[in-house]
Every structure is written in structure tokens, then in C-alpha cells.
Amino acid sequence: MTGEGVLGNGRECGEDAAAYALGALEPAEAEAFRRHLAGCAACQKQVAELEQVTGSLADSTVRYEVPKELRRRVLGEVRASPKARASRPARVRRPVVAWGGAVAAAAVIIAIVLVVALSGGGSSTRTIQASTGSAELRLEGGRADLIVHRLPALPAGRIYELWVQRGSATPTPTGTLFAVTSSGTAAVGVPGGVSGVSAVMVTREPAGGTPAPTTTPVIVARTT
């Protein structure tokens, strides 16, 4: 991990903080800076201060009326996809550090996934931190959500794609494509839940997605 003082390639510590806060670093630079940030208190302080400004910028735009049709559409979708209710405390069924055998050895593995089964809903969770990322696969009733933190943003033309695997069959696409926020976070539902699914995977793919994985998974969450 890069310490305080020098970021790499001769660049001074803190030089990238403003561009990072604006979301204007190139993906590789953003990832390098994110790694540096984890060990540099000075940059953490600077980024936190500058992100207050960018947060204010986001809330400073001239106001436009929210189209009524947009509100109707969003609320319609929400009503059509009810969530499991929390009726009792969460029960951790099977915490699994999910490294696939073959993929575990791959250098591209960047997240450790803790699978938490919440049979009755609830909010109990534990996340195992990894060197550059972490993730949770949350199971509530028949619903599954994958939540990732501190994953690197992808370059233009690339996107994360979500897959499910049944047994040892070839992973099938879920149709879910996602990007991460500037802090590397994303949350996606697993369409259809994980009934009969042995693993949920994420790969980096061309924008628009692919019918079969073209890269080694960066996340493998085993459900059994």
C-alpha cells in the first residue's frame, strides 16, 4: 500500500484528490488513488473536505419539475416488487468465504463475499474486508441482493455483469449490468432469486453485456 507522501509515478500525494472527488480520474488512476487513500490520513481528510463541496454542487442545480409519469412509473415498479418484511431477528445460516477453486488463484479476485441468509428478514450482517473490496450477498426469503463496496470503476465501454451458476454448469446471464459509484459501491438484485443457484458471479464485460462470461469472475459468491 502506498503510504503518505508519494502516490506513484512521481505524483505527489494529494495531487489527485480533487479530480477524484469530482469523479474525473481515469479508472486506473482512480483505483490507484483508492488504494493509496486507504493508508493515507492526509488524503482521507482532503477528500472528505472536497467531497463536501462536490456534494453541495450536486444539490445546487436549478430545479426542474419531476415528471408525473416518472413518479407513477417508479412507484408502480416498487409496488410490483414487494420486499420481504422483517418479522424476527436475522439468523446467520452459513457464513461462507466464497473463493472458487480455480478462480481463487486468479489475481483478479478482489472481493471476499460473506453469504448471510436471513430467513425472516432483519438487518444483521457481517462483512469481511478484503484488500481492495468487499461484498455481501443477502438472502431474504426468495430474494437475493448483491452489495459490493470499493470495487474499481471500469473504463468506458466496460461494465460489470451478474451471472448465476447452477451446479457446475456454465454460468448464465441474469441480464443485470451495473457500474459502481465513485466510492466503489453498487447494489443489485439477483433476478429470480437464488433457488437452485450454486453461485452468483460478477465479471467485467463490454458495455451491453455478453451471453457468456469473457473474463474471470471478480466476485464469486457460493450459496451452498
Partner: protein, 196 residues
């Protein structure tokens, strides 16, 4: 005292803080989500429209952001900031993704629908206060030296990377980063003085 979850009246829910509403959203309470939507959708749509310049694209971005909030409400961590800043952060990142996918060449196509500016946006004291804060932020941005303001606007609202901006303005990348840093730092100083 509020009624049992799932049957709270909208008037009751509107009295709750965002963080309390998010607990209910997580429990699947649609009305709580509705209050969160009504509280922050205007800011979210305005940001998306400011960035995309297209009404349909802005609607898509906002729809995705709020559905993400509904489906994955657990991803919200109060320790990392307010619900509003989280929503706006999701909108900002999705708008950047959309802009970078469409590429610079396609950004000049005509709008596919003009959004309507709010005629009387201040329905509550909180909204009036936010509007005053927003005005102070815009003033702080407007008062930056033009070269600093330009790179900040291109990056934050235009979704361009610093290297794209450097090419556009025919400047060394280091100069662009330097202007970003100077501009944001100056804004922080100004806004800190007025406690935004």
C-alpha cells in the same frame, strides 16, 4: 406514536427523518419509500437533467437510482452520509456512466423533451433553506476564475475525465488537475465561511 409498520399514514411518515424512513423502506414499506422519493426526487431529477441535458435520459437515471434504493436499501449506511447525498451520488455516477457510454460526439443531439422549471419550489422551510444553500454554491462556483470553473463544470456536470478535459482545452493534464484542486479548495473556503 406511529402506527404499525405498513399502515403508517403519509402525514405521520412525513414527520420522520430520512434515516427512520430508510429503516421502513428496508422493511418493505412502500409509503415510506414514497415519502423518500417525494423528498429527494426533485434534486435527483434536476441533477440528472443538468448532466444529461435530455429529459428521457434524466428520467431513466432517476428511475434506476430510486429502484436501486428500494431493492438494496441495506446498502445505505448512515455513517457515510445523508440519504440525500447518497441518492445524489448514485444519480451522479449513473449519469456519468450514461454520458461516457454515449461518447462525446453524441452529446450535441437535440433534447427529446424539455423539463419544466419549478415555478414555486419552496413548499417547506427545509426546501427554502436548501434553495438558499444551492444559490450560495452556484455563486461560489460562478465567482471562481473562469479557467477553474470551466474544468470543474466539465468534470462534475459534463462527466469528462481530466485527460479528456486536457485534450479539449489543449492543456497539460497536470494543469487541469491543479485547476480542479484550486477551484474546489477555494469553494470550500468560501462555503465554509457561510456554513453550507
Amino acid at each position: 406514536m406511529l402506527g404499525s409498520r405498513g399502515r403508517s399514514r403519509p402525514a405521520d411518515l412525513r414527520a420522520l427523518a430520512d434515516e427512520e424512513l430508510m429503516e421502513r423502506v428496508h422493511d418493505g414499506e412502500v409509503r415510506a419509500f414514497e415519502v423518500v422519493f417525494d423528498r429527494h426526487a426533485t434534486a435527483a431529477f434536476s441533477l440528472a437533467y443538468r448532466m444529461s441535458g435530455r429529459r428521457a435520459a434524466a428520467e431513466d437515471i432517476v428511475q434506476e437510482a430510486f429502484l436501486s434504493l428500494w431493492r438494496s436499501s441495506r446498502a445505505y449506511d448512515p455513517a457515510r452520509g445523508s440519504v440525500r447525498s447518497w441518492v445524489l451520488s448514485v444519480v451522479h455516477n449513473r449519469a456519468i456512466d450514461a454520458l461516457r457510454r454515449q461518447g462525446a460526439r453524441d452529446r450535441d443531439v437535440p433534447d427529446d423533451g424539455i423539463a419544466e422549471r419549478l415555478s414555486s419550489p419552496d413548499r417547506t422551510d427545509a426546501e427554502a433553506e436548501r434553495r438558499d444553500d444551492a444559490r450560495r454554491v452556484r455563486t461560489a462556483l460562478d465567482e471562481l476564475p473562469p479557467d477553474q470553473r470551466r474544468v470543474i463544470e466539465l468534470a462534475f456536470f459534463g462527466g469528462f475525465t481530466h485527460t479528456q478535459i486536457a485534450e479539449m482545452l489543449d492543456l497539460p493534464p497536470g494543469t487541469v488537475k491543479g485547476r480542479m484542486r484550486l477551484g474546489l479548495t477555494k469553494m470550500r473556503t468560501v462555503l465554509g465561511e457561510v456554513s453550507v
